[in-house]
């Protein structure tokens, strides 16, 4: 899957996943990163503090899925299922925080927006993997 023989589009999955991992350490709300919020909430025993690790978990799982498809095109269905799992964590987290008070009262920072970009890149990557035309669904999968 190459664009003018220069750029392998499967790398998009790697880019999107790394972006998600990085956003864990970038400011999300009022210059606090998700990691900062997780550590703070854990110390004061706020419920569901582990949710703020979900962008990191999602990125790591997405990275595993992306590396799998780069390793061999036979694993594309496996790669897609694993990517679904990673995206599942992220969608749950995004939905939870968007509906929370924190979202309403804080200044949304670059971390949130980059997370959305990473999410979209991973979704586009999954669609591109599924549309790979040179491989019939094989029993190797």
């Amino acid at each position: 899957m190459k664009f003018k023989n220069r750029f392998d589009l499967r790398v998009l999955g790697i880019i999107g996943s790394i972006l998600l991992i990085i956003t864990e350490f970038l400011p999300w709300f009022s210059d606090r990163s998700c990691l900062d919020i997780y550590l703070l909430y854990t110390v004061v025993a706020v419920e569901d503090s582990f949710l703020y690790l979900f962008p990191l978990i999602s990125g790591i799982i997405g990275l595993i899925g992306s590396i799998l498809i780069l390793y061999s095109e036979e694993f594309r269905i496996n790669s897609v299922i694993i990517s679904f799992l990673g995206l599942g964590f992220l969608t749950f987290f995004l939905f939870k925080i968007v509906s929370s008070d924190l979202f309403l009262i804080s200044n949304i920072s670059v971390g949130f927006y980059l997370c959305l970009v990473g999410f979209l890149i991973v979704v586009i990557n999954v669609i591109l993997i599924l549309r790979m035309k040179d491989l019939i669904f094989s029993e190797g999968n």
Binding site: I77, L94, F137, N141
Partner: protein, 291 residues
Amino acid sequence: MKDDAYPDKESSFYYALSHDIRRKIIKIIGDTQITSFTNLKKKLKVSTGTIYHHLDALSQLIEQKGDKKYYLTDLGNHAYKSLKENVAIIESPDISKREFKSPLLKVLMILTPKKFISFKKEDKTYNIIISLSILAIGAILCGISAFYSFLLFFIETSDNIYNMEVTTHFAFSILFLINFQIYFLLVEGICRLFYKKKERTLEFFFSFPVVLFPMVLYLLIHFILLSTELLMSFIFMRFLDIILLILFQIWSLWILTYSISYNKGLKIEKGLVISLILHYGSFTIILLLFI
């Protein structure tokens, strides 16, 4: 086609079936056992010369008797039976018979209720009862636990469910049933609009509740955890609850993919694309509504 161009009978047989119009002629005659030239012209919608050309190519498979009507020869009957059997195999790769080497897909196939999705006539009543049960249990659990449902997204209300009126609980149940209808219509709509697949709509509809089965199972587990107060007592249980929700969503997406692939005759990759677009497309809508 003249026979001397293809002296080998086997080659001439396959040549005869190589053209779409010739295959249609075989099927028209095979379906009714007998047909007239007028009927062929009406159904094929091509010129007289074209029909005669193809009838000439089918000289070994079709014969014209004294009544001027066309019949299939023994070879023609054999061709007709072959066409009927092979079309189903060629156009709809039977995913239910696939063997998977990947452990992940093997597990997913074990978790897929294949017999239920195939919706065979002999199991019709049993399948409908199961479908209705899934919907009924899902509606009840959604109502009791006060979950908003939108496709595969089940969102717990922030209000205290113990202080809610009965009508509010009932509304959540109705919402679940409406969600099921919307989900089916969206999937069916996408299959028809983008892939022109209109077959097995009724079977697909009656077996569609099984797509929501993992989510209903999640609702049941969530309800048990909530009512035994385990959910509020242990952070680990809360984490487990979220993990189960995500895993069961994946399970539902896989069942949807398999169901689309089986019922609509699409490749599994296309089924996954439909599942993905619906799932994450709906998530984007929910996110935009909140933002």
